[in-house]
Symmetry: C2
Subunit: 414 residues, 2 copies
């Protein structure tokens, strides 16, 4: 039987060395991985083919097979991303806070790695390199648990990473793959509190919900995005249509794309036709409430289900409201606390919306598509947190760190 | 059947109002609670007597009964603590970070409340006021789940708090008691992910372990403290003995008291007798490894169990090591990542210890008894976190906050 505890123990044993590795040592290791990926490209592509073939045999859909595929270009991209990561500032060892107590005790809050991070993800082998490298940069050990459909690719990539680590001064066991992708082993992973400091699920809502409900290891929830665009009465019509089209169609499959347009009834009366025509021009299917349907009989009536749905496709729901309060109520009820936008020129409405909508990111007069670690300027992203503890919104390197208090005295007693 | 979901819903409904309450409104509410507690002292004491009587009938031990007891003095103390809380700075609304992207998008990271906080605690009715007031100060709603043995006291206190809230501009349902203390209701509380943003268990290791293993709601783990004092070869003998006595005996029942003294064999040879005599003088019982027992035959040999035990009593284990590395290894193996101290004049050893010991607080030349929100100068404490996510070490008001990104654009699309 696969011994996940042994693997986790080996990860934990590397944490002191990793926590004390210098920025230079960590960057050297990342550079070595970057060049090893290029050197062993043929091997990775060969192993990846096994996964692709088996996916085709299982008649998986084309978009899944495309995400699974690794070719020279994609491996080059991974390697380039590693080099960009080298350039980023290392948060470890920085002093977050520093003060002295009246009794002379000096307190320093220092940024330290979290320890061992578990990543559970689906059939995207690029996550293997991505997650491993972000963890290494922040001095964390990582246990990777990918999907069975990418097992050959993941094994190949981790082998390449470990061969690079062997040449580096970082421990080889800092990056390990859970090779057994059975449900039993996953369930054991959820109970590894003695060895694992955090679990990060990356993938579908289903995967995330399973991890959240079953894991006793603390979870960093990277959630689904049922995002809304609220077009207020005073919203500029051209800007509104441009942002609606961008937020819906620029990349419909991602979590920061919008799923529902909430529109003020007065704006709808005046510019609704223009908006709907523009959506048609961009091949967007619509579901809408009766007010919209009255105007455009060809649009099907939205059901309760629609307001909850993250389509991740060229489909949008349209909901009419009579004021900003109704918009806020709808969004707080159906939203997933990810990204929500108001387009408005009314300052009171903007303030109400920005204060009262409960989401990781609230926007005024901009597309929700900017909820992303790179767009925020973090230079890296481990996911977008929709929970409120530890990190909220796009998570860069800092989200992979903890702190530790160092107290310096000269004999203080209480 | 008790409808905990209804109670949780009512709590959630207050969150927008609470999040937008001004500091003045929140402080006014705290002042009102402070004076209402004094006005209704007789009522609280009367209800508390019911709990005390029932505890006596159940032959609970004296220290539990003492913790349960509320008298005029203790209610006065609660009221005073509330007034001190009013004086503390309100973290809500402060800007944690603020920058502009090349495309002109302005990003503001603002400190916001977490939302609804659940507190699960044992027979200490003072926690009811304490937890509720810290949550209110930070604009959070709170669901309090105390123990059945304090139910009359808790009901009385929450009634008093709510009568004060009625006179304030904060919603009454911001503070609610889960009146059903059954296990079934607790289990439901662990699954309230739709309404509850975080659960904080306060009490025994047993309680905390249950919450951690069963809750799908994120948990802020306030853990046990198996704390160590390492006396290195070069440690000043007088300072070492003074700190050892303070860290063990000043208040043995708390989590930041030490449980094991790890001592360098050379220091032991020279000053061991002095240390052991001092411990005897303070009525401390000892368990030790063979090296110490060889020296003082009357001390019983420590078992493996002893190194793991948080005695919370006037008992200490003594472990001999030959160098700082052995000390670090022992502490990282048996410690609970709470508070660990080194007494040493050797700079290399100090640096190794401070860097390599994995704990929320690491001390040089000071007693571990300072791991405490008040001693840190936070002015309040909701507990001491021994986990690495969100907050680590003593948690003040800031630990009860989250952040939210506000993005301001003028039509930005991706």
């Amino acid at each position: 039987m696969y011994d996940i505890i042994e693997v986790a123990k080996q990860a934990k044993e590397t944490t002191i060395t990793l926590a004390n590795a210098t920025t230079e040592e960590k960057n050297d290791a990342l550079e070595l991985i970057a060049s090893e990926l290029i050197k062993q490209q043929a091997f990775i592509v060969k192993e990846n083919k096994l996964d692709i073939e088996s996916a085709k045999e299982k008649r998986m859909n084309d978009s899944i097979i495309d995400r699974l595929r690794l070719d020279e270009q994609r491996i080059n991209d991974m390697s380039t991303a590693l080099k960009q990561l080298v350039e980023l500032e290392d948060p470890i060892g920085t002093v977050a806070d520093d003060w002295e107590r009246p009794n002379g005790l000096k307190i320093k809050q220092v940024v330290v790695p979290i320890g061992v991070i578990g990543i559970i993800y689906e059939a995207r082998p690029n996550v293997t390199v991505d997650a491993a490298s972000l963890c290494l940069k922040t001095g964390n050990a990582v246990l990777l648990r990918g999907s069975s459909s990418a097992i050959h690719s993941n094994k190949a990539i981790v082998k390449v990473i470990q061969s690079a680590l062997e040449k580096s001064s970082l421990p080889v066991n800092a990056v390990q793959l859970i090779e057994d992708t059975s449900r039993e082993t996953a369930e054991k992973m959820f109970r590894l509190n003695d060895y694992l400091d955090v679990l990060i699920p990356r993938g579908s809502k289903n995967l995330i919900d399973t991890v959240v409900s079953k894991s006793s290891v603390p979870v960093l929830e990277t959630g689904a995005g049922n995002c809304h665009l609220f077009i207020d009465e005073t919203a500029d019509p051209d800007m509104s249509i441009e942002i609606a089209i961008n937020a819906k169609t620029q990349r419909p499959s991602v979590c920061n794309a919008i799923e529902t347009i909430v529109v003020h009834s007065k704006w709808l009366e005046e510019y609704g036709d223009q908006l709907i025509n523009a959506l048609y021009d961009h091949d967007v299917a619509m579901r809408a409430d009766d007010k919209v349907v009255e105007m455009r009989k060809e649009i099907p009536l939205a059901t309760e289900e629609d307001w909850h749905t993250e389509y991740l496709d060229k489909i949008v729901a349209i909901k009419t409201v009579n004021n900003v309060e109704e918009a806020i109520t709808h969004i707080n009820h159906y939203g997933t606390k990810h990204s929500e936008a108001i387009l408005s020129e009314n300052n009171d409405h903007i303030v109400s919306f920005m204060n009262q909508v409960d989401a990781a990111c609230v926007y005024h007069n901009a597309s929700t598509r900017f909820t992303d670690g790179f767009e925020f300027g973090f230079g890296a992203e481990i996911g977008i947190s929709t929970q409120k503890l530890h990190a909220r919104g796009p998570m860069g390197l800092k989200a992979l760190t903890s702190t530790k208090y160092r107290l310096y005295g000269d004999g203080q007693i209480k």
